[in-house]
């Protein structure tokens, strides 16, 4: 007698690239960190969000943002405009291309060339914007202010719609319905701590809210870079406008991390764990490792994206490291 059962994730076949975006039925991997975590503490698992099809955790956000706009009939005859450090733009541009919607992306200067080029490859119009473009009215948030001006200006407001990942509750829902349930299922309800970085705060608020609803004693910890940091995708809240979707009541605490510590951990993840991660992963893992004790229990940290898009950025921080002496 033969028996049949549901195919495992690895035997699945997909009819559309959008089905590859993380969901409880097709979660991104959780991988244990075995070398950067001191013996006897942890365990600490990293959720590899770069297994999403467009390369980052923002694939989830972009899918829900566009779904919400379509459900509200806000896309008809409009172009998209979104301020982004790259990953949301890449995901939005890929999804927009699939449905034939033009997209303009305003991007802070300093974003690696790889991300800008990918955006243009996907057909997006890219406006690189100095953070202090408008020093009087919009300090440090030039890209956000510029995108907002597209949708609020009398001359252009009929042409553009902004998904607005910083204020749109669909960003929270994406993580409440996917990232949170995935972590709960993958850890079989044993997760004790959840670590993610300050950015748009959709991951922290949505995932944190879901996990605390399952077990209010689960700790949700936000990682914040120092002022003047160079960690793409992360925000220091004292120099940036706080995103409207951040629910601070979900956070148990905020851990500050400096760039040198974040970069050092990024290198260790490359060299000791074989994980080619982006700089924000280094910041998040560094903060988590600092906190681990022998009775911490199972922790999960988010790895928002891979290191492949940051080659030129890493060249800057490597110096002479890895070059032949003399």
């Amino acid at each position: 007698m033969s028996t049949t059962s549901a195919p495992s994730v690895h035997l699945q076949r997909f009819e559309d690239v959008r089905q590859l975006i993380g969901s409880p039925a097709n979660p991104t991997p959780l991988v244990r960190l075995n070398h950067v975590v001191p013996a006897g503490v942890g365990p600490l698992y990293l959720k590899l969000e770069w297994y999403n099809p467009f390369g980052s955790i923002k694939d989830r956000t972009a899918l829900y943002l566009l779904k919400g706009l379509a459900e509200r009939n806000a896309l008809e005859g409009k172009q998209l405009v979104e301020p982004t450090s790259g990953n949301t733009g890449i995901a939005l541009a890929a999804l927009a291309a699939l449905t034939g919607i033009p997209i303009t992306v305003t991007i802070p200067d300093g974003v690696p060339e790889e991300k800008k080029t990918l955006l243009r490859m996907l057909g997006a119009e890219v406006w690189e914007t100095p953070d202090d473009l408008c020093p009087i009215n919009h300090p440090k948030d030039g890209a956000i202010a510029l995108a907002r001006s597209f949708v609020e200006s009398e001359a252009t407001r009929d042409k553009y719609v902004m998904p607005n990942q910083y204020e749109n509750p669909d960003n929270i829902t994406a993580h409440y319905e996917t990232t949170g349930p995935e972590i709960w299922l993958q850890t079989e309800g044993t997760v004790r701590r959840f670590y993610a970085g300050f950015g748009t705060c959709g991951t922290l608020t949505g995932t944190g809210r879901y996990l605390k609803e399952q077990d209010p004693t689960i700790q949700v910890i936000a990682i914040e870079p120092n002022k003047g940091h160079r960690i793409p995708g992360m925000k220091n809240m004292s120099e940036s406008r706080q995103p409207g979707i951040l629910d601070r009541s979900i956070l148990d605490r905020v851990v500050r991390i400096d760039d040198a510590t974040a970069y050092a951990m990024t290198k260790r993840l490359f060299r000791e764990e074989g994980l080619i991660v982006g700089p924000s992963t280094g910041a998040i893992v560094a903060a988590a490792v600092q906190e681990l004790q022998d009775d911490t229990g199972l922790s999960v940290a988010i790895s928002p994206d891979s290191g492949f898009k940051y080659a030129s950025f890493f060249t800057d921080i490597l110096g002479d490291d890895g070059l032949p002496a003399g």
């Binding site: 202090d132 408008c134 202010a145 510029l146 001006s149 609020e152 200006s153």
Partner: protein, 76 residues
């Protein structure tokens, strides 16, 4: 020396400043630009932008709700 004009009327800040920024990327020293805008915030923004970028604000006027700024490219 070239003189350019930018119509940024109906655009909210910082879009007019972004237009100036894009002009300054290709302008050479002594090039001039005349920009018109209607966002009242442009008055303070253009003063701060010229100070920050060391370009010369030759004149700044407002008439009938339209702000006109003349700027000379100084920095290379």
């Amino acid at each position: 020396m070239a003189t350019h004009s930018i119509d940024a009327k109906g655009l909210q800040c910082p879009a007019p400043i972004m237009r100036l920024f894009n002009w300054s990327k290709t302008a050479i020293p002594d090039d001039q630009v005349s920009i018109t805008a209607t966002d009242i915030g442009f008055i303070s923004d253009v003063k701060a932008w010229c100070q920050k970028t060391r370009n010369e604000l030759l004149s700044l006027e407002e008439a009938n709700g339209v702000i006109t700024a003349h700027i000379r490219k100084v920095a290379a």
